[in-house]
């Protein structure tokens, strides 16, 4: 193989440069043309810097509202959040999407103020307001310059506690949500994720039922008001502030604004985790505009409070955390089947999900599915070698601070921590917890969670089913709205 070491031979550097270069060569000794220090990667500085996050100062008001503050010096933009401990899993089975629409209706009117007036009031502060709905909780977020924080607290109280739900405003919110759901059905990643949840949580609240945008049409102002009345209560909520703020002072202001909010917490119990899938199940979701096939393979795992959460984090990293992990190395680098192959996990209140995901050429669907299953099964068969465990730990420990760099990342972490009532290890104790993980723990966790056969979802064009799925049968074929269309059978089997 021809190797060209590219250097500029035509350049004429100044004399001073060559003098230093000559000295460099002399100091480098007899190592040859290049300085010796260039040959091997440098060692890290001896003292590893520990991650220490600002403490979360928490108080609970007489009405049950939690107020939590975290001071981040040097952050001129402050994040103000209202967390409601109810999310998409709390939408009634016949009203999927209700939690999301309720959250989006906050800021769309009060008894005194119109939606336009409120929008103008928020943006006059230079603030950005958004609603995010997760499986177990909802977060209303306002990012604002520190000098407008007092006013922002007032506005947040006003739009939340005095919210009204008019048909006209709900119509606009429904239309926007409808289009978003409609457009999202063109994204193979979204389709794969929704179908994975639909299969793993078939009769469970964690089943995402908003696969079809039509479900949004039936939500009425009454539905929204009922959901709001049941869950938007002080004892089921928390107000969070993070930024360069005086925590006690702002907590006091929040207390004075929200102390009149009343209502007991709703009777809620976390949904029990379902059993993991343990049979071969392959689903194909049709995506007529897909450029490549997308594969998901996953199963149910533990909640983040479980003792094997941190060993699983390491395990997930070994499986497919980076381009050096097993899935990428096998599916892309060794076998040339995939453009990428990684692993993910998402943890809810009572359980979680892991999944491998890969993008492949249509003709590589079958070998890529089998290889993904093989890599997952390989980890379940025995503990990984210690060096692989240490590399995964090194990545996890090193990457942890990256989550907290931005105001948004920090605030998201804080909201999750408060909403799910997590312990200190989940705040900034992750480094220590990961350090304790060893190969045996990872092996035991893999045996426990990866032995069960994962559900496989393939997302691709309808015309790929005939020529490219041979050997995977039976395959359940779904349309982009999650409706079962047919099931392919092996040749010779009846339908």
């Amino acid at each position: 193989m021809k190797l060209l070491i590219v250097r500029d031979r035509s350049a004429v550097p100044d004399a001073c440069f060559w003098l230093a270069a000559a000295l460099g060569l002399i100091l480098a000794g007899p190592a040859g043309a290049q300085e010796r220090f260039r040959r091997t990667p440098p060692l890290p500085d001896a003292q590893r810097l520990e991650l220490k996050l600002p403490a979360v100062e928490t108080t609970v008001l007489a009405n049950g509202l939690t107020v939590a503050t975290a001071r981040r010096p040097g952050s001129p933009v402050v994040t103000l959040q209202l967390v409601i401990r109810a999310g998409e899993a709390d939408s009634p089975p016949d009203r999927p999407g209700l939690a999301a629409l309720t959250a989006r209706m906050i800021g769309k009117g009060t008894r005194q103020l119109s939606a336009d007036y409120i929008e103008n009031m928020i943006e006059s502060l230079g603030a950005v307001f958004k609603a995010s709905v997760f499986m177990d909780y909802t977060v209303l977020t306002m990012d604002v310059l520190a000098e407008y924080l007092d006013r922002a607290v007032y506005v947040l109280r006003l739009i939340t506690l005095e919210a009204t739900f008019g048909e006209r405003e709900l119509g606009a919110v429904r239309r926007a949500a409808f289009w978003e759901l409609y457009e999202s059905k063109k994204d193979p990643e979204v389709l794969g994720w929704r179908q994975l949840l639909a299969v793993l949580f078939e009769k469970h609240p964690y089943r995402l039922a908003t696969q079809n945008e039509d479900v949004i049409k039936f939500i009425t102002p009454r539905d929204v008001a009922d959901f709001y009345g049941r869950f938007y209560r002080p004892a089921n909520a928390a107000v969070l502030v993070s930024g360069d703020v005086d925590g006690p002072a702002i907590a006091q202001k929040i207390g004075s604004h929200f102390s009149a909010w009343s209502g007991a917490a709703p009777a809620q119990a976390p949904p029990p985790p379902p059993a993991a899938n343990d049979r071969e199940r392959i689903c194909y979701v049709e995506a007529p505009e897909a450029g490549a096939a997308t594969i998901f393979a996953g199963n149910v795992i533990m909640a983040s409070s479980a003792p094997d959460f941190f060993p699983f984090l390491v395990l997930k990293q070994i499986l497919g955390g980076t381009t050096g992990s097993r899935l990428f190395m096998s599916l892309r680098e060794t076998k040339g089947l995939a453009t990428f192959a990684f692993s993910e996990m998402e943890v809810f209140r009572s359980c979680g999900v892991y999944w491998a995901r890969a993008q492949v050429r249509p003709e590589a669907i079958v070998p890529a599915v089998r290889e993904t299953e093989r890599v997952i099964g390989g980890l379940a068969a025995g503990p990984p070698p210690p060096f692989e465990v240490e590399e995964a730990k090194s990545y996890l420990i090193g990457s942890l601070p990256l989550r907290f760099e931005s105001a948004e990342g920090f605030a998201e972490w804080m909201a999750r921590y408060v909403a799910l009532g997590l312990g200190q290890a989940q705040w900034d104790g992750g480094t220590e917890a990961i350090k304790q993980v060893n190969a045996e723990m990872v092996g035991e966790t893999a045996r426990k969670y990866l032995s069960a056969r994962p559900v496989v979802i393939v997302v691709g064009r309808p015309e790929w089913i005939g020529p490219y799925l041979g050997g995977l049968e039976p395959v359940e074929i779904y349309d982009a709205s999650g409706q079962l269309k047919s099931t392919t059978r092996k040749q010779g089997e009846g339908r």
């Binding site: 060209l4 070491i5 250097r7 260039r38 003292q47 230079g126 450029g291």
Partner: protein, 447 residues
């Protein structure tokens, strides 16, 4: 021996102080920015900018080369992007793709990007691994290994991935076409990769020449932001970068030679799928002093937030559009304001265009109210400070300033300049530049 020893000592005496005095170290603590920085230059011409922040145990290393698409000659479309990707294919001491593996092993994140003015490479990693990032970046700056096999593989991957994106995103090709209309100068307006055909035709000689000319320390900036000890960092920078030979001075990119039409340019195209809509853009060239500040505020008045003029009018009042976004695109001396709109249906395209022009006309005749201006200023300030809240955000800000030819010391007044824009200045700016000759429209509809 004695003579050799004397020469060695003389060299050491001469060279060590020279190394220390390689560049002036000026600490700049801008009053209007939430960070300070130091800037100096190595003897080989490499500009170095350091910005310390000890809030988290992280550091970002960013290396920018003035090697963007503006450096490509006619027919070389895709060359800058190809070089960016070849930078991950190994160097004298680092095997292909090992750069990524080294960073990921310690939990870091990395990426690279090519724009009109530069190619930018960056990694954020634990701050005790700073030397690792400098070792990696210096090795590929000093001795990038470009093999015919690497060229073939990289080019093939880039073209096939780009073609897959073109197949799955019906609007993608319209963005490239719109750029060629909005920047009617091939150098400024040609796409990053296009259809890939020209990239396929690039020769090894062209690739090597591009690298030799532009990937040299005197055509680059190294920015290090994060939890660093400045003295120790300077030592490491000197160790890894000081001995890299400089190249010839890179030519200054030519100014655009626009062929200006007498009226707005309007084109129609068909796309394979998706919805009907249009791109509308305005060109600002040459901008006078202070006019860029007007443009920044104007972007917020027109497009940022739900109460901004165009979003409010098209998405809420007229309901002629169901998606609207826009942004400034600055390519050295040329700035543009671009709007991308998906209409509620094909009939609404004309109404949406008319509504945009009517909102702009209002800006020419009625001064922006203090409330509206205040809202845009506050929002701009919040976004600006938010962008600078991470090490990577600060590093990119400093590298961007370098590549646009600004003095870093002048950054101090930048935010205040934007916040100081007056209603009169806005009216004058809009009247001067928002004229048909600067307007381009590209309409698209599914086949």
């Amino acid at each position: 021996m004695q003579k050799a020893a004397r020469i060695f000592i003389a060299l050491a005496v001469l060279a060590v102080p020279a190394s220390r005095a390689a560049g002036q170290l000026d600490t700049v603590t801008p009053a209007s920015l939430p960070f300070s920085f130091q800037e100096y230059r190595l003897r080989n011409g490499l500009r170095v900018v350091l910005s310390a922040d000890d809030r988290l145990p992280l550091v970002t290393v960013a290396v920018g080369y003035s090697a963007g698409t503006l450096r490509e000659r006619p027919g070389q479309e895709g060359l800058a992007f190809l070089l960016e990707n070849l930078m991950f294919q190994g160097s004298e001491n680092i095997s292909p793709l090992q750069h990524i593996a080294f960073i990921q092993k310690v939990g870091g994140e990395l990426n690279a990007t090519t724009t009109a003015d530069k190619a930018l490479f960056y990694e954020t990693l634990p701050s005790n691994q700073l030397a690792l990032a400098l070792w990696l970046e210096s090795d590929r700056m000093k001795s990038l290994a470009i093999t015919p096999a690497a060229i073939l593989r990289t080019r093939s991957e880039l073209v096939s991935e780009h073609r897959a994106r073109l197949r799955s995103d019906p609007y993608l090709s319209t963005f490239a076409l719109f750029d060629t209309l909005l920047f009617p100068d091939d150098l400024y307006g040609h796409p990053l990769i296009g259809d890939g055909l020209r990239m396929d035709g690039l020769t090894e000689t062209e690739i090597l020449e591009f690298h030799r000319t532009y990937y040299v320390p005197n055509n680059a900036v190294l920015c290090i932001a994060g939890n660093i000890d400045t003295a120790r960092t300077r030592e490491l920078v000197a160790r890894y970068f000081d001995s890299i030979p400089p190249g010839l001075d890179s030519p200054i990119p030519p100014r655009p030679a626009f062929k200006r039409e007498n009226d707005a340019v309007v084109r129609d195209v068909r796309i394979p799928a998706g919805s009907a809509g249009f791109h509308m853009g305005f060109r600002f060239f040459p901008l006078q002093r202070g006019e860029a500040d007007c443009l920044r505020i104007l972007e917020y008045i027109l497009l940022e937030g739900e109460t901004s003029r165009l979003r409010s009018r098209l998405l809420k009042r007229d309901l002629t559009a169901r998606y609207l976004t826009g942004a400034l695109d600055e390519r050295l001396s040329v700035a543009t304001l671009k709007v991308f709109c998906l209409a509620t249906n094909a009939v609404m395209i004309a109404r949406s265009e008319k509504a945009i022009l009517s909102e702009i006309d209002r800006l020419k005749t009625n001064a922006v109210s203090p409330e509206e201006l205040g809202r845009a200023r506050r929002r701009y300030k919040g976004d600006h400070l938010e962008r600078l809240s991470t090490n990577l955000g600060r590093a990119r800000y400093l590298v961007d300033a370098w590549s646009s030819g600004k003095s870093l010391a002048a950054l101090d007044g930048e935010l205040n300049g934007v916040l100081g824009v007056t209603p009169q200045a806005l009216t004058s700016f809009v009247s001067r530049y928002f004229i048909p000759q600067n307007r381009v429209v590209l309409r698209f509809a599914p086949q």
